[in-house]
Every structure is written in structure tokens, then in C-alpha cells.
Amino acid sequence: MKRNRKIGLICSPGGHFTEILQLLEAFEGHPSFLITYKEKATWDRENTYYMRNLARSPIALIVGVLKILLIFLKERPDILFSTGSEIAIPSFYFGKFLFRTKLIYLECSAQVYQPSMTGRCVYPITDLFLVQWEPLLKRYGPKAKYMGGLI
């Protein structure tokens, strides 16, 4: 029997956000919510939580991390999906160890030869780890998969 899974989508604005918009079809039929940074370029969208850029200041980081925890307590995600950037790190670790969520990470197509810092941090705990350029495969372990890219 197929069950509805609550999906949490996590990304910073810009290319990461556009990549998630491209893939929304994959989550159709499941309830979902999105966490991103409040910036001028962000799209106003339903079921979206906004926060300040975590990389901007230590206070923004602490407040943001707590906010992610509260959002997860409210939403109870079953699966988290992220295209980066650093906002995925606290989200994935909370998801994995406090909520037992399954984790899907798609390395942003901006990473051609070099792994991103976020990718390296979440690789060990991610269940489905995808990269968008083939040369990147040899920089990650055997778990990483290349299935084509969005650009």
C-alpha cells in the first residue's frame, strides 16, 4: 500500500531554489512544506517557512537552527529533500537523528568537479545522494549516484 509521506523541502534562494521548483513534480500527491531564506528574490509560496540567512551572523545561525527544530516538531516530516546550501546541514542532522526521516540530497549543478561543503557534511547520513556532473562521482564515496543534471 502506498502511503502519503510528509516531505520537507530545504534550500537557500537562487539556483538551489530554482532547482527545487524544477523537481516539484517528484513530490506531487504528498503533503510538503518548504524552508528557505527570506530574501528579495524568493517566491511567495504556500506552506513556506522563511528565516534569515544562517551564514550571516552567529545569532542568525542559532535562531535559525532552533526555528528549523520547531518547524520539524510541527510538521513531522518523513522525508527531507535538499539541493543545498548550508541550511541543509542542521536540517538533515535533526531529521536523521531526532525524527528518523529519510534524506535525499541533490548536489547543486554548480558543483562540476569540486564537492560542496554542504555535500561533504551531509553525505555520510544521506540515504539517496545524487550529483549532477559525472566527474564529481569520484570525489564522493560509492553511495553517490549520477543520473543526469538539470542544466
Binding site: 537562487g14 528574490a41 528518523r100 554548480a110 539517496l128 543520473m147
Partner: protein, 201 residues
Amino acid sequence: MGAVAQAIRPKGKIYGRAYMIFVTVGNHYQSFDRLIKKVDDIASRLPHEIVIQRGYSGYRPQHTKHFDFVPISTAVEYIKTSDLVISHAGIGTIILCKEYGIPLIIFPRRKKYGEHGTDHQMEIAQALEERKDVNIYMIYEEDQLEEKIVEVLKDKKKPLPTENVGKKTLIRIIREFIDKTGNDHAFSSQDLGFKKLGIGE
């Protein structure tokens, strides 16, 4: 066509052969004045309608319309209705131009000019250049821009939106994973997570 883009399109051919060009330098916090200054300089000579999304760049163009940011939904409208897009090697812009079949000139941000933390935009540009995508053009020096604009607009063909095979595959893989997770989990995360610990009720 969205109302915004329709409003900014030149009415009739008041400039002769006027095309609509949208320039964007993305959401990155460092400025990319090198591109914006060059476009501004060129705009004084070309008949085209040019709109610039400056982002966090400090330079204010004199010869074009410009703004710092519009919401992404509006930016998508600008891209869809442009004849040409010029941008840094930003993934969002590349994806959208490919999706709508809009010609794109890419000018990567460089670390040495304080335009980005790394030179990964050079890697993106070079990887795309090797792949020889239709409708995507690379320049590495700002002096090449004017010539490239003229060249691209001269043999501008009807845009060809191409099927994005990578996107289809990624959607399928993610769906399969979600379906599998739905089936082989006996418990929901509510049963296993905080509820069990008696927290967050």
C-alpha cells in the same frame, strides 16, 4: 505573456530593430559590477531594450532600466519574454533559459575580482562549453560582450525549448525512492521520533 513583461517591451519598433535583453547577476551577495558597467556602456550604442537585475551590485546603470531584485516569479516572466539573456554562470538562469529556449550569454564571476568566493563559475562555463549546448554562449572577457550580443541576435532563430532528459530522470529516481520509503516503513516518523520520547506533544 505576463503583464509586467508586456509593459516593458518596446511598443512597436520605435528603435528600429529592437530586441529585449534581460541581464541578471543572481542572488550572490558580492557585486558583479564588471558585467553591469559593460552592459551599460554597450546600451548607449545599441537600439535594444535592456533591463538589468543588479542584485547586490553597487553600480547604477545610466542607459538601461534596472532594479535590485524582483521576486523570482517576475524574473521568470522577464526571461520568458526576452530575446536574449546575459548573466553570470548562475544555475537558476541557465535552467530557465534552457527551459524556455532563450539564448543565453554567460560571463562567469571571478574570484580574483572579488565577485565570488571561488572560481567554480569558470568550471560551469567550461563544462557547458565542452558540451556545446545550442543557444548557450560563453565569454570570459567583458570586451567580447558587444560582439557576442550582435552575433547572437543576428542569427537568432525561433527558440527551441528542448526536452530536459536529466530533469525527467531525476524526478523518476526521487519518486521511486519516496514510494519505496512509503512501503517498507512499518511506522511513521511520528511513532519513532519525538513522540516516543514524550517530547513535543
